[in-house]
Amino acid sequence: MTGSLKIAVVEPDRDRAMLIVDGLREAGDYEVAVVGDAAALARKIAELAPDLVLIDLENPSRDTLEELATASTPLERPVAMFVDRSEDALTKAAIEAGVSAYVVDGLKKERIKPILDAAITRFNMVSRIRKELDATKAALAERKMIDRAKGVLMSARGLSEDEAYSLLRKTAMDQGKRIAEVASALVTAAELLK
């Protein structure tokens, strides 16, 4: 049988899901569906009846998928997590990239490999993008907090913006803390004193 395989990607974040789907479509002629809703996961998967399910290793909903690997599955087809000790490098790469794959029993290894390869590449890309995004968000949040703290000092003590920043920096150095931490403590205290 050479019909196109049906793949379900379980991913609540739409942008991440699309990146993975695009990668899989580039890799071959696959029918790819995304499941985002965690509450009805088992039912959705049963309706889709995919040949292969891809999910982030760290997704808390993975335990729900584990039901598919037991005898009376909603799929009524045995499913196993992809484990192939003869392909140790591939399995290892999948774990490192945070991909877990549930495969319907009997699916041939040579049909799984290109899918996993594509998934690994995309999961790695997604995780890089996520790290960048998190770092940017954290930096922005810190900057905002420091701006608010400067504002508090400027109005409470009549300092200029530069003086306010110098005071924050000096306090942080004296206390061995990060400027953002001092700023956050100041803003919290100022709110309490309002």
């Binding site: 760290e58 808390p60 993975r62 335990d63 729900t64 998928l65 584990e66 037991t70 499913v79 774990i95």
Partner: protein, 397 residues
């Protein structure tokens, strides 16, 4: 002396306490171990990382290594339970609507009246009764199947046990995916405080001495790092003994409440350690004797009869050979290593590694390697006694 590193995974639950205490109070360091604890987000992730060697050891649901050793589930592999980390600790919660129907039907005042509470629940519940558990291979699932099975509710026609991650239980209940759930504390009491569910019974009412979590490692790892395995067993056993001192609950709760572990207020944890549960949204608390145990009554001993109970129950539901399942179960509960490593540091050792499960209605004095020890109670709510030998066909009488 440089410490030998052990990567150990856990799920944020009160019963991860022996591992947290072993690290935080230095029991692990005293044994020459740098016990590194990794908080995992699902039982599947924990298991996969253990199986692939990213973790050396794990806080695992007692039925999980038995199931894996039997070849069940998504990751068949030989996993050993070195010791039992905790006894009991789960609670049964139902939706507020179901709770109110149960009250209308009449509910026994005794929080441990498993038969009366079960009958009231069955009378009030829709068919099939859908009940959430954290993992398919869990004591939660085993206890529910046992409880409802003994009361005549047939699975899967009238009873559907579904896996739902504990943080999503409330949502799943609101969406009508489940009518009730069974989770480990403190998450049951936390859901009750939020008004999401009502607590009807601690699961120890079903089986008074259910092995809940075990210290799990790969079978091969024991052979590769025998000294580390021994040191880990000793550190965790000492942590369990410390946890059993009543005066230590507050300190233990403080450790567990930290961001690296449970990341919730220490009061909810201390309440569990003190054997109390929250039963209503208004915060009403009730005492639940033996809600959770870490040491007393040979709590940490990996009884092979417990493993056989789990294995034969799993075999029955999954259509597998009981004798073969019992063999796999027996070999994965390492009472042999427990005797060898913990006997010399003072652990009470029972004369046999198997017992009749459910035969003790009271705390009972029995003979042990050092004289005598206290065991039990370990009764099942329906009074049945489980004989591991006849159950697995090892004895043909």
């Amino acid at each position: 002396m440089s410490l030998s590193a052990i990567e150990c995974g856990f799920i944020p639950l009160v019963d991860s306490a022996p591992l947290v205490v072993a690290r935080e109070l230095g029991f692990a360091a005293e044994e020459g171990l740098d016990l590194r604890l990794h908080k995992e987000r699902s039982w599947s992730a924990l298991r996969d990382k253990l199986a692939f060697g990213r973790l050396d050891a794990a806080h695992m649901l007692a039925p999980a290594p038995v199931a894996m050793s039997m070849g069940l589930g998504g990751m068949p592999m030989r996993i050993d339970a070195l010791s039992v980390l905790s006894i009991n600790g789960d609670v049964v919660c139902v939706s507020p609507e179901l709770a109110s129907k149960m009250r209308d039907n009449g509910l026994p005042p005794d929080l441990l009246a498993a038969e009366g509470i079960g009958r009231s629940l069955i009378a009030a519940a829709p068919r099939p009764l859908k009940i959430g558990v954290p993992f398919p291979f869990s004591m939660h699932a085993e206890l529910l199947y046992y409880w409802f099975g003994a009361l005549g509710l047939a699975a899967p026609q009238e009873l559907v046990v579904r896996t739902v991650p504990p943080p999503l239980m409330g949502e799943a209940m609101a969406a009508g995916e489940i009518d009730a759930f069974c989770v480990g504390e403190p998450w049951g009491s936390v859901a009750v405080s939020k008004g999401v569910a009502e607590l009807v019974m601690p699961a120890c009412a079903i089986w008074a001495f259910a092995p809940e979590k075990v210290l799990a490692v790969r079978h091969d790892w024991v052979g590769e790092r025998p000294d580390a395995a021994e040191a880990l067993m000793r550190a965790v056993w000492r942590a369990g003994r410390w946890l059993a001192e009543p005066g230590n609950a507050m300190t233990a709760a403080e450790f567990l409440s930290r961001a690296a572990y449970l990341d919730i207020g220490s009061y909810a944890i201390e309440r569990t350690l003190a054997g109390r549960v929250v039963v209503s949204e208004s915060g009403e608390e009730r005492a639940a004797p033996r809600l959770i145990a870490f040491f007393d009554g040979a709590a940490t001993f990996p009884w092979r009869s417990q493993a056989v109970w789990i294995a034969t129950r799993l075999a029955e539901r999954n259509g597998l050979d009981r004798a073969e399942a019992a063999r796999a179960g027996r070999s994965c509960f390492r009472s042999d290593l427990y005797r060898a490593h913990l006997g010399p540091i003072g652990a009470d050792l029972p004369m046999s590694s198997e017992k009749l499960e459910g035969s003790l209605t009271e705390r009972t004095r029995v003979a042990s390697s050092t004289g005598e020890m206290m065991l039990g109670p370990d009764r099942f709510f329906d009074g049945r006694v489980f004989d591991p030998e006849t159950a697995s066909g090892a004895r043909s009488d």
